[in-house]
Amino acid sequence: MLIRPKAGILDPQGEAVERALPALGFKGVENVHVGRLVELEVEDPTQVEAMCEKLLANPLIEDYEIHLLNGIG
């Protein structure tokens, strides 16, 4: 699961990274956001969405994306 700050909410970490990259010589970088990665193995993949809603993300302030890496999906 990739969890990122909701659009529109100030992301000071993302801003800090966005400022730091040009100082290291990387140009043309925009829209940096810093979030979280959660990886797990699960028997029943249909439960993952509920896990995100209930614990892994806070839907008030975060969006999430679920990627099934292998297995049925």
Partner: protein, 225 residues
């Protein structure tokens, strides 16, 4: 009256909260792993780093067995005070609206801050005058209060915006300088600054924090009459 102070793995300011509560009534610690509130008239969810702030501050603590009882207690109108990490736990548990995000300066900051009372006369600010200025230490890295515009407007109308950082004192970037909020009913209150560290001039620099505990006592004892 008796306060119950929750204790999670990683709580830091629970004993400080216990001492503060004992200035106005009885108090004992309630272990996170069990469900008995032991007859507490009011619950304090203290500051610290419960569960190491893993995942999100308060995200894991909100599911502790003791919290199931606290949620029921709150739904029945019981008084619940959340301080700093406690505020985060109450937001995660949806007992309070909104969420706490990382400070805009991306650093933990400890500072004695001036707070303004926006709504007095409630269960937690009964002893305070409207507009009164309180001096209370704040110390956190995840204290930026956020709620969307619609929620904020509704909270404002309902008198749920209780404390605000005085001009120039908002170091975490909270929307509208909000430092403390209550639920609609007014029995659950969360704030980022630490009133338990402002009960004594000698160590706190002020005793303004005592007013919040005192207000809770007045509310509980008033309700009994």
């Amino acid at each position: 009256m008796k306060f119950g102070v929750l204790q999670f793995p990683g709580s830091c300011d629970e004993v400080d909260a216990l001492q503060a509560a004992r200035r106005v009534g009885d108090a004992e610690l309630l272990w996170h792993g069990q469900r008995d509130l032991r007859g507490a008239d009011a619950i304090i969810v203290p500051g610290g780093f419960s569960y190491g702030d893993y995942l999100r501050a308060g995200a894991i603590a909100r599911f502790a067995p003791i919290m199931e009882s606290v949620i029921d207690f709150a739904r029945d109108g019981g008084l619940v005070l959340g301080i700093c990490n406690g505020f985060q736990v109450l937001c995660e548990a949806r007992l309070l609206p909104g969420a706490l995000l990382g400070n805009v300066n991306r650093r933990f900051t400890f500072r004695q801050v001036g707070l303004e009372v926006l709504n007095s006369g409630g269960s937690f600010t009964d002893g305070c005058a409207l507009g009164e200025r309180l001096s209370i230490p704040a110390k956190h890295s995840w204290g930026r209060y956020y709620a969307d515009a619609e929620t904020l407007a509704a909270m404002d109308r309902a008198g749920q915006l209780v404390l605000r950082y005085a001009a120039g004192e908002n170091f975490n970037g909270s929307v509208h300088d909000i430092a403390g909020v209550s639920n609609e009913r007014g029995n659950v209150f969360g704030l980022m600054p630490h009133p338990e560290h402002a009960i004594d001039e000698l160590v706190g620099g002020s005793s303004d924090g005592l007013k919040i505990f005192e207000s809770m006592r007045l509310t509980v004892e008033g309700a009994r009459v």
